[in-house]
Amino acid sequence: MSTGGSKKPKKKGGIGATINYYLTLPSRWLAERSERQRVRRQRDRSENIPNISLGSRIVRTIVWPFVSAGELIGGFFGGIGRYATTRNGMYLLQGIPSLVVLVSTIALAVVAMSTKKENLIREYKEQGDKALKEATKENGKISDTTRQFLLSRAQLCYERWMMLDNNNEEAKFDHAKASFEAEKNRKVPGSEQQSNDAALSEMRRLAPHFEPGGYKQAHDWLADYYMKQAGETKDPLKQKEYRDLAEVHLMRVLIADPEDTKSHFLLANLYLQTLHLDKALSHLLVAEKYDKGVNFELARIYESMNQPGNSAQRAQMAFAHIKAQLDQNPDDLKSRLRLADTAVMLKDYKTAIDVLQDGEKLSGGSKQINQKWADILLKAMLELPSDDLAGRMEYLDQAIRVDQGNEQAFRYLTRYLRESNPLKAVAQEKIDEAIAKSNSSTLHLLLSDYYLGNGQNELAQKHLEAVLRAQPQSLPVMNNLATVYAMAKPTPDFNRAMDLINACIKFGLEMNIAPANMAYFYDTRGQIFTAQRRWAEAAADLEKAVGYGLSDNLNTRNALLRCYQELGKKSLAEEEARVIAQMKKKQADAGAGTTPTTQKPPQG
């Protein structure tokens, strides 16, 4: 049996030979080159160059470079052509695409790697600042979508900056700020608290309130945030908690940097809120050394401390300072409003109004200017003697003209309605005029409150219906109007009342509003059922109202007691009666009743 099999040419070398080939490549190339040169020199020496004339030599000298260049180019391409017909040449030609891509990608990688980190950081910081500034600009006429895009851009830029410079606290602070603004702008019901928590956690990590140190600007930001929170909540315990937190943050900054103007300024404002005027004054006086802009706050403090002389002096200084600022930048709305406030402090209402008028001309009509203008007119009105009714009415009229929806002005008007002097007639006239002119829902609502208080249900109904036409899904209005229909005399309109309150509850559930607010709507429907003697349905609604937050409301409890009694639920009725007795005792002890809210309609 033969061994058979294929016979191949013996393969030379292996890995060692390959390495050797590449190592000896330069020396071999040099050797081959010198050999070629030697052969050329030998050939030149052996060639017999004929004698030629001078003219020919000159012509040849001139023409020679062109001829040589042509030969060279022709030779080059001819060489390539000849080379391409060889196997190696073909390999090279076919390999060129990969070589080109390889070299290009490596070159690109080199360029990319050589990008300086510092330049990137600067670029991302600038872009982030620009986007954040644009998004949070006051008076910025941009849509919510654009603002959201700008804020997410700012977030991204700051996050990249954090990635490039991981320990940079400024980047982290800016990122937290942008995240906070972005979440605030997003306005997703139910998620705001969560999202803000994320941004706040980031900020709290930068400036922990329970340990020294931390990033100064984050402390200031948190203090400012807590002060705003304290201003927004109505719970005194929460207010105290927020103000305490703000104070701790500001103190942390001042321990690290006792001359930090902003922290002194914020702390003074905090003490102003808590009426610690002495402390506020001392901090403002420190802040004054570094920033003359605090004179306005100083004037307010002296005014509160009943030191009119000091107050006026500071107000004068503040006026001069703010005016100078405004002269430099007439578009600065914040300074303009502040200047008007300073003028008011100096009782110079005319100047205040002039300042605002100038602002209106420049801005072409700003809501903030009109509101401030109306407020100043109302303040000026109160400066008039109480018997100068015509003068007061004139100011009121002007305030309503300047700011057609000014709630305060309407309140004054409805207040004058309650008085029994000739002003009532004038007020009524102005009200009719305002309604004819602006048909303001606010005014209708105030009037409905006024008429309900006076027991003039028909007029109240008229105004509530007007509001409902303007705001068809206003739940408080629907609720109040349903009550009015149910209380109508001589015949209550239960059908319309029930339709309205059912719609109100339906919208409330769809809008996922807070159970504490839904409690009022269930209460109203429960009361209507009670009036209709539909005890079981009434009990169900009233139980919901109690469960959702009206457990301290005596009206609701009494209605529920009545339902249980009518339904024969003795044990429940007894329990309800016991709770009501306790509540009455408690109220008698405290000397105060339940606190109605603005959404609660007056009950019959």
Binding site: N88, L92, V101, T115, R204
Partner: protein, 583 residues
């Protein structure tokens, strides 16, 4: 030595045209060879079938269907190079090799290892080739045999690790290039974030699919042209580079289309598939060109190692003339036939059930709805619910049902039921590819008799640049509700867990997981800015155990009414009960 199935054994000398006398078999008993060969094939088939299903479930391995054709082509081409009949290989070596192969096959089926089964099959194939034609034949058929190795998945899912790591490299490179061209961006893992949107989220944990297909092309080219080892290795190495460049171009094209032209469609769906195909078609010419460039740079480029097949009339008229007397080879051995017949029975006993279906089923569960999980649980309040459907074999599972909770009424926690996967799904890879860094990973569960029962993974992560913390708890279970053991560590996984499986198989217990069994994943993820306290972590674990039990219950309940083996539609009553909705 084994007994042979020899009935008539004669050889004769055949005279060739060139007067060379070559002995070839004349009266081989092909029936015996066919019987033993069939037994060998049948013994290997169940595990190979399971392996095929497993490979098909991995998108980057789906090219494996081309491998048998490529191998057949290369082998046919190799046979054409033979100059004369071949001589059988050493019988002792053959028996040793086939015994090793048999052992590997048994072990592979007991521990359900596709890798080992594939190696066993390749060893059997090598033994057959060597047994028939010795080294001469084996050398000629080597390219066809070698290319089969591309269908052998590496153990411990190293392939997943490789392709996802490469994808992270691509993302990093992409970030550098976007810096050069001035596009504001942020690279988190493999995700590209642009102002107001994110790209490449879908495939954050999918890796680079074209890597293995491109390597297949490069290897096939090298083997067909009989390039040297260095040339082949260099070509494959550069191919990896081309794959990276191609993917870089793909991601860059998506970002530029989005940023410069406002077209975000390239990131998903058909346009994205078309783009990927175009990139792959761009890589193939580059591989061909690189092969030529390497030839140019080769010191032996001036001569060819390729020997063109002779245009003369072949020396043999039938392929059977190539082989010697098979009656003398191990292929007609009764003992081998019997051994592999036993192994075949074992195979069908162990994995027979899994081979009934061609592909893993895509499990459908009706929309459980927001009320599937309680609105208040252990101090946490439910916020919302969402269902998401994806394509078959999607890396994140085909479906997800997600509930969000205000965990401890403080942090937002996301609970998710994701399905369907095949075996274990390493969820941490997805999070790492989204920019998270794992700081701690432990296996937790109920400890009974020193063993962890119903294990789940607790993973602590951080987002380094933002300082955000992530707390992840997840587990996998199969359609019978059996828990899939998480890989504890390579050694433990290989020995302890699989030995347990062998024991369970011998004692007739059901085994969770396996190569192609559909699985579900339940996860709880809580991202926070400050790290969770120990008390909060314990609460999270309690919360997770509670939720996980409820979800398993929901899945199991549905299964009873699902269109499964009996093909019945779920009834309204069943759905109502599952969903917890009032009738």
């Amino acid at each position: 030595m084994a007994t042979h199935l020899t009935t008539t054994t004669q050889t004769s000398l055949v005279t060739t045209d060139d007067e060379t006398q070559t002995p070839v078999p004349a009266t081989t008993n092909y029936l015996a060879v066919i019987i033993v060969g069939s037994i060998l094939l049948v013994a290997h088939l169940p595990m190979l079938f399971l392996l095929s299903k497993d490979l098909w479930s991995r998108e980057h391995y789906q090219f494996f269907v081309f491998i048998p054709f490529a191998a057949a082509f290369l082998m046919w081409e190799g046979i054409g190079r033979l100059k004369g009949p071949v001589q059988a290989g050493n019988q002792i070596i053959c028996y040793v090799l086939i015994l090793i192969s048999a052992l590997m096959l048994v072990v592979s089926s007991l521990i359900t290892s596709g890798t080992l089964a594939a190696v066993s099959a390749l060893l059997t194939l090598a033994t057959i080739i060597y047994g028939i034609g010795g080294w001469t034949l084996f050398k000629e058929l080597l390219p066809g045999w070698v290319i089969f190795f591309l269908a052998v998945p590496p153990p411990f899912r190293i392939d997943d690790l490789l392709i996802t790591t490469l994808q992270r490299w691509v993302a990093m490179g992409n970030g550098k290039i976007l810096d050069v061209i001035g596009v504001e961006h942020l690279i988190q893992g493999t995700t590209v974030k642009l102002p107001g949107r994110q790209l490449m989220v879908e495939e954050a944990c999918s890796g680079i699919h074209s890597l293995f297909s491109s390597l297949f092309v490069a290897l096939l080219l090298s083997l067909y042209n009989r390039r040297g080892v260095i040339h082949t290795l260099l070509l494959m190495f550069i191919t990896v580079y081309w794959v990276l460049v191609g993917n870089l171009a793909r991601v860059l094209a998506i970002v530029i289309a989005d940023v410069k032209f406002g077209y975000s469609g390239l990131a998903e769906g058909l346009p994205h598939s078309m783009l990927s195909i175009m990139i792959f078609l761009f890589i193939i010419p580059l591989i061909l060109s690189t092969d030529r460039l390497l030839l140019f740079m080769s010191p032996w480029s001036k001569r060819s190692l390729y020997v063109a097949p002779s245009k003369e009339k072949p020396w043999h008229t039938s392929i059977l003339e190539l082989v010697p007397d098979l009656n003398q080879s191990w292929l007609s051995s009764w003992a081998v036939g019997l051994l592999f017949a036993l192994i075949a029975c074992l195979q069908f006993w162990i994995v027979g059930r899994d081979t009934l279906t061609l592909t893993r089923p895509n499990i459908e569960i009706a929309e459980i709805g927001v009320n599937g999980l309680p609105d208040k649980l252990l101090g946490s309040t439910r916020l919302g619910y969402e269902k998401e459907d994806r394509t078959f074999n999607h890396i994140n599972g085909e479906h997800s049902q997600m509930w969000s909770y205000a965990f401890n009424n403080k942090y937002k926690g996301n609970v998710s039921l994701d399905y369907t996967f095949t075996g274990w799904h390493e969820l941490t890879i997805c999070y790492v590819n989204n920019g998270w860094t794992v700081t701690n990973k432990t296996i937790d569960g109920t400890v009974e008799e020193g063993k962890i029962k119903d294990p789940y993974l607790r993973v602590e992560m951080v987002m380094p640049h933002t300082g955000q913390h992530g707390y992840l708890l997840f587990c996998m279970f199969d359609e019978n509700g059996k828990r899939i053991d998480p890989p504890k560590g390579r050694e433990e996984k290989l020995f302890r867990q699989r030995l347990d499986n062998i024991y369970a198989k011998i004692t007739g217990k059901e085994i969770a997981g396996g190569m192609t069994i559909p699985t579900y994943q339940v996860q709880l993820f809580i991202p926070t800015y400050g790290e969770l306290t120990e008390a909060e972590k314990t609460l999270a674990a309690q919360f997770y155990r509670d939720i996980e039990g409820r979800i398993q219950g929901l899945v199991a309940k549905y299964k009873k009414a699902s269109p499964g083996a009996n093909g019945e539609e779920p009834t309204q009553t069943d759905s109502t009960n599952i969903l917890g909705v009032r009738p």
